[in-house]
Symmetry: C2
Amino acid sequence: MSADPQIGAAGLTGGTRELAGAGSQPAGGESEALARLEQLLPVPPAGQVWFGDDAAVVAVPGSRDGSGSTKRLLLASDCLVAGMDADLRLTSLADLGWKAMAVNLSDIAAMGGRPSYALVSVVGLKRPELEELYSGILEAASRYACPVVGGDLSGGHEGVVSVAVVGWVDGAPVLRNGASAGDAIWVTGELGAAAAGLRLLKEGGSVARSSPLARAHARPVPHLVEGEVARAMGATAMIDVSDGLTADLGKLAASSGVGFELSRAELPIARGATLEEALGGGDDYVLVLTARRRHDVAGAFYAAGLPPPYMIGTCTGVSSEHLLDGRPLPALGWEHEL
Amino acid sequence: MSADPQIGAAGLTGGTRELAGAGSQPAGGESEALARLEQLLPVPPAGQVWFGDDAAVVAVPGSRDGSGSTKRLLLASDCLVAGMDADLRLTSLADLGWKAMAVNLSDIAAMGGRPSYALVSVVGLKRPELEELYSGILEAASRYACPVVGGDLSGGHEGVVSVAVVGWVDGAPVLRNGASAGDAIWVTGELGAAAAGLRLLKEGGSVARSSPLARAHARPVPHLVEGEVARAMGATAMIDVSDGLTADLGKLAASSGVGFELSRAELPIARGATLEEALGGGDDYVLVLTARRRHDVAGAFYAAGLPPPYMIGTCTGVSSEHLLDGRPLPALGWEHEL
């Protein structure tokens, strides 16, 4: 990875999702808080990314600069608050545990990396709730080969699960700031399923919890293989869809200094989801990536045994431009519904 | 590091402090919860330690086994809850931020390693409280060359700060389970200062907050250089004093399968602290280490420009033996006072 002045410039502003949690902090105070904190943080050395992307990119500890190794560690950290990031009347503590792992694994996926180890801190839960939470955590850890190697338990009045994941990448990770005007935009899966699932769960009914949409909400799937293939294929920028396509693609575009135009007809709206849910619902944890048009993106995914991603639009040279079929999109995604 | 059957055997039981937070969970429920969780956790490969010590010991991600590298990563994670782990009427949010970093750095110190990067997740704090917390976090990060490279902010009803630190060690880290009967026991600093400081703060008065004891409580100092010197010198086992000397030395002894006898006359009780505070007060974050008697421990510390550690006793062959001047000590340390 070469030094890139945009990395520093992106700072915390580009990393709102990472320093902001899953939309559970009021947007106004959060933006101010982030802007103030940004001034306090030190500037990373060349080739590293501290804040401002899905995961931090750092040198392998103890390695000397100029050692010739291209390996970098990826560090991600996200915490979920029971009752704020999850409605435990609609989903289980096991689901919350799974999700706490998945959102961090998705951050590693969005850099094109592989996860290695997880640390888990839990506040305010005792048996049997603690075991239920851990069952979901360990299910995801096993499924994605990212063992929980340490952690902490603490008393408290509110359930909080905080996960940190250490991953790695050999070569250049895919950052948010590499897209150029003319690059095409892809997503690696359908959009709106998690938001539609939450809506179905709220509506209730006997089939709701077992529906594929409800499952998409309760058990998001990090696109780890997709992220690795995208990196190997030469994706120019990538981010995961946690706050909604419009919001997250907006962050990628802002970091890259580009605008974007999407085609409504090309959006892979999940069956049963609305356009609004596909654009702003959040929690889908598919990846949005950009690549030069000459790249055979579908071919690379096909060769890896993956379903081809969906090309949904194009990056434009006007950074203020966020268009759907030529008309302006809302500037920000929808707030997470709780 | 060679494979050691005791590593696996120590499991969560040996790591109560790590999976237990700073004493803020009732002891009964905690032990049960830990025992149940332990059954769920996978067993680490040879040469790694998952749970059961101050920090996890893992291979550098992406490295192949048998690559000849002796470098290991150290991963520590601890969270503090405002109002439970700190009384904010007595200490500041900046102190809480400092402490959240210091307890994790102390975990790295207790393995004989060096810290590299920190991730910080904060729940339930907004400006200006968030900035005050971060000022202490960043002060410690700067002081100990462990930059905060990423993190998360989330809304919530209770202030929680969760820190994960990635460190490293080239060679064998010092575990808890390596002490043998006949090894001498050292501590790297005075005992009881933090507990005495908390007592003074509770008593109030104009000089309390500026006293060295109050400062020891508010701003614990991780013994990083001491830990490295102890490792290089050949310490056989090591742990940091977070829950009190009796409790933490008890964990080291249990992991190692030894007992211990302490000499009251040799205990370095901080000026103004009581014997009880020195034995059970906790939060001192000095290191307890064991070494063969033939080792010149004081000489190694002196050569590194450090004050010599205090030899306070000896490991015995009877694992149930926890003695002070020949009389039994309480089996567990004092509960943290809040």
